[in-house]
């Protein structure tokens, strides 16, 4: 069995093939936050753009962009990013902020607007629209509200002459309100609510009917009847498989900055913000382990306001349009019945505090010691009898890159465990009639010694 030294070779192979996964992981960091821009003041614009699809075509969209060019980006790679984007910029504010969002319409032929779920929004400027004030071409509207409660919310445009059109065309995004004690306590809903987390990822679900986009691109603005809408492409974070594995702000996808590959270590608490700003419901299924719900639409599922004691457990989130679910996913590797690091690799399971888990200074921190040293329970068929996935490491063991036939595997440089996270309406694993595509995203559980940015 080949251990860690094989990574570098595999890694070079990945780079050479132009299929870089998520590189580089910076050392000395262990936590991932959702990418976006911070408030409390935002200056957005709207403009059309064509996003690329993996089968070689492109799709005409109406999009939000950050007029400040990422000046307030949450992460360095977002600084300077000013393009219209799908989804719109993820807006990150603090509880109690007086938020203002200025929207200027630089190129959408219909008046655009901004609705924010769960908030009482005041609008100034532009003209009166169906639900709120709207910005016609070269007009500006300022929307302001107080972010009173932490949580996950949807924002989107909607208005005359066709309220269903704007979300279809891509004018949507997510607002995240962090609790006011976030600087001292990394939680979703505040210290003491037991909503602590290690990793945070956005799973934003949308779908489109490309026929509508073709009509809009040709300027046939009235050639669209809501009743005829029939989605044929399904997105996570604005991308489809396999594009969604590519890193945040990848230049390959200039108008789709957000990755949908989650990363975690064994036993990490992963906060998943499962949001559907689209028009259709999606049953989004998480492999590897169940999630525990903590909130819906920015309100903790709680009978006493203290902890999320009404949150149930599930492996599939029933996601109707505009719903936001916050849930915690944790994969531990406990009780597999065999040593996940391989019983014949040289390592010990040091557990001086006798909690059952390997200590932080052990060979593999967080290893479930009861399974340590147990042999793999079956023998696997030979390579000629198996078909291998591109994200399979070649070994059943975590962190162990096994031998694979030439041309197989190669997209799992750190020999993690990939678990797919996808819509279980399996039709939604296609991109415009092509399988695999659509919502086939994933989490990768990485060996404890691999850092997560």
């Amino acid at each position: 069995m080949i251990k860690h030294p094989a990574w570098s070779g595999r890694l070079l192979g990945v780079l050479a093939a132009g299929l870089a996964l998520v590189l580089p992981w910076q050392p000395a960091q262990a936590q991932h936050d959702i990418r976006g821009i911070t408030g409390p003041s935002f200056n957005l614009y709207t403009y059309p753009a064509n996003i690329p699809l993996p089968e070689g075509t492109s799709l005409y969209m109406w999009l939000f962009g950050d007029a400040l060019g990422g000046a307030n980006a949450t992460h360095p790679e977002g600084v300077g990013y000013a393009l219209p984007q799908y989804p719109g910029p993820t807006l990150v504010v603090d509880e109690g902020d007086e938020v203002t969002i200025t929207v200027t319409n630089y190129g959408i032929p219909h008046p655009v607007s901004l609705l924010v779920t769960g908030h009482e929004v005041t609008a100034l400027g532009g003209s009166e629209g169906v639900f709120t004030r709207q910005a016609g071409l070269y007009e500006t509207v300022t929307y302001s509200f107080t972010a009173e409660q932490p949580g996950t919310y949807v924002y989107h445009s909607a208005g005359a002459p066709n309220p269903g059109l704007h979300v279809e065309m891509g004018l949507l995004g997510v607002l995240i309100v962090r609790p006011d004690d976030f600087d001292t306590s990394r939680t979703a809903y505040g210290a003491g609510t037991e909503t602590d987390y290690d990793q945070e990822f956005l799973y934003l679900l949308t779908e489109v009917d490309p026929d509508i986009h073709f009509e809009m691109e040709r300027g046939h603005y009235t050639h669209f009847t809501n009743a005829d809408r029939f989605a044929k492409i399904w997105f996570v974070n604005g991308r489809v498989f396999p594009d969604l594995f590519e890193d945040d702000y990848s230049p390959i996808y200039p108008f789709q900055p957000y990755s949908a590959l989650a990363k975690a270590h064994p036993r990490d608490r992963v906060l998943v913000r499962n949001v559907n700003p689209g028009q259709d419901s999606h049953p989004f299924h998480y492999h590897g382990e169940n999630l525990t719900y903590i909130a819906r639409d920015g309100r903790m599922l709680s009978s006493d306001g203290t902890t999320a004691n009404l949150g149930r457990s599930d492996n599939t989130i029933n996601s109707p349009p505009k719903q936001a679910i916050d849930a915690i996913w944790t994969w531990t590797g406990k009780d597999l019945g065999w040593d996940i690091y391989g019983h014949d690799t040289e390592h010990t399971c040091k557990d001086d505090d006798n909690d059952g888990w390997a200590d932080d200074d052990a060979d593999y921190p967080g290893e479930w010691c009861a399974d340590h040293g147990k042999p793999f329970p079956v023998s696997l068929p030979g390579p000629g009898e198996l078909a291998f996935g591109a994200w399979y490491s070649g070994s059943p063991f975590l962190g162990d890159a096994g031998d694979l036939p030439p041309g197989e595997g190669g997209l799992n440089p750190f020999a993690g465990y990939f678990f797919v996270w996808h819509s279980h309406a399996e039709k939604e694993l296609t991109t415009f009639d092509i399988f695999p595509g659509g919502t086939l995203s994933a989490v990768v559980v990485l060996p404890p010694d691999v850092d997560i940015e």
């Binding site: 590897g288 009404l310 492996n315 000629g384 399979y392």
Partner: protein, 431 residues
């Protein structure tokens, strides 16, 4: 005429199996089951004078084939399917021959107990009706907690088994509840084609009872003799609130006949336009849902859609739809509905008109909050999409005897394509 179809199909299938896959020359049906000496996944045999010994009661084995077959919709329309079938007890050298044209819709039930060590061998017998295909297959135990990728059955991130060969999955079963299993290879196609089945796990509490503040007796399915003992529990509730007397696993599914016919006649598959026209419960539309036990072995339709001749036998003569969806119980008994939805293209809402549903679990987990309190929910309907499972208890204490209906509240789904009064309806008969 009946045998002509098989005569043509079988050699093609054998040929496909022999030629398929890069490693076909070494391919072998290799069933791994501790204590089993002859590869048939049971412990009933004496091999070379040595009796097989099951190592422990919690060791369980099963041998599944993955292949193709037909299922007949309630309006008589035969649809080409892919699927699974349990062939435990079949000698390995006969597994492929027996597995050809034998897959079931839905696949064979897997029923386990918490604490089991389950060795599941999957043999890919190929798709005899489509010898141009050489698809691998997998078992994905949907919802398995703390899964390892190697046994998660997702081909993009793991391994899948080629035609003519066997992959043995190992599961240490830790969490009771309602799951499902399905093939994850080319998931949209293989699942629409029918590689879907019921799977559930009984809790340890069945054998132990509970001794908490509200004690509960050992369940009768594990030898309990207390007059108040239920047949079983859904979860380790420690308060007896998930006790049930009669259980029924029902899989909510749907087929788009255009997709199946496109597959049968080797046409491009309509992924984007997928739009089911046969809503089903356990692989049947009403009124077949209330036919107890197996439906007759599939034969060709009146217009001879498959073979050109009406009534032609389409499989090896064995039934392929063996699970019914009808429920019968006595007044006062508690009914457990183990519902799992595998629809690939839409949501469904089920109601049991006149009966109160209590949701005691979702996603194979007990509905209990982080503070230890039960968060059960009484409801008249459950809405769910593909991948969701619901544990529903229906208490018939004081309920008037009679026939109640379990059906989709999307009433336009109560049809078998153009035939009305069909689709997603079944009966709960209370005596």
């Amino acid at each position: 005429m009946n045998s002509d179809f098989k005569k043509r199909a079988l050699p093609a299938g054998v040929l496909a199996v022999l030629l398929g896959g890069s490693g076909a020359a070494s391919a072998v049906v290799n069933v791994q089951c501790p204590g089993d000496l002859n590869g048939d996944a049971d412990w009933d045999d004496v091999v070379d004078g040595v009796a097989e010994v099951r190592p422990a009661d919690n060791i369980k084995c099963m041998h599944l084939i993955a292949g193709d077959s037909f299922a007949v919709m309630s309006d008589g329309n035969p649809l080409y399917t892919f699927g699974f079938k349990d062939i435990t007890g079949t000698p390995p050298e006969e597994a492929i021959a027996d597995g050809i044209l034998a897959s079931e819709w839905p696949g064979s039930l897997i029923e386990l107990d918490e604490g089991d060590e389950f060795y599941l061998s999957l043999t890919n017998v190929g798709t005899v009706i489509r010898p141009d295909l050489f698809d691998p297959h997998t078992v994905h135990w949907h919802g398995f907690p703390n899964a390892a990728t190697v046994f998660d059955g997702v081909p993009e991130v793991s391994i899948a088994i080629n035609m003519g060969a066997t992959l043995t999955y190992y599961y240490k079963v830790m969490e009771p509840g309602d799951y499902m299993y399905h093939c994850h290879v080319e998931a949209t196609e293989h699942m629409e084609m029918g590689m879907l089945a019921n799977l559930y796990v009984h809790p340890r509490q069945d054998a132990t009872g509970c001794t908490g503040s509200i004690p509960c007796p050992v369940a009768t399915r594990k030898g309990g003799t207390d007059p108040a003992a239920p047949t079983g529990y859904v979860y380790n509730d420690d308060d007896g609130t998930t006790a049930w007397d009669v259980e029924k696993a029902i899989q909510i599914s749907s087929f788009d006949s255009r997709f199946h016919d496109a597959s049968l006649f080797v046409q491009p598959l309509p992924f984007a336009l997928l739009d089911a026209d046969y809503p089903m419960l356990n692989g049947r539309g009403y009124p077949d849902t209330v036919v107890e036990g197996a439906l007759p072995a599939p034969v060709d339709s009146e217009d001879g859609k498959v073979t050109g001749t009406a009534g032609t036998e389409l499989t090896n003569g064995k039934p392929t739809q063996v699970e019914d969806a009808v429920v019968e119980l006595a007044q006062g008994e508690r009914l457990l509905l183990r519902l799992n939805n595998v629809s690939v293209d839409r949501f469904y809402t089920l109601t049991a008109q006149g009966l109160t549903m209590q949701v005691v679990g979702t996603g194979a987990r007990h509905a209990r909050g982080v503070d230890g309190k039960n968060i059960y929910r009484e409801t008249a309907s459950v809405n769910f999409g593909g991948g969701e499972t619901k544990d529903i208890l229906i208490d018939t204490d004081g309920v008037a005897p009679g026939t109640y209906f379990l059906y989709a509240t999307e009433l336009h789904q109560l049809s078998n394509r153009t035939e009305l009064d069909g689709g997603m309806i079944t009966e709960i008969v209370i005596n």
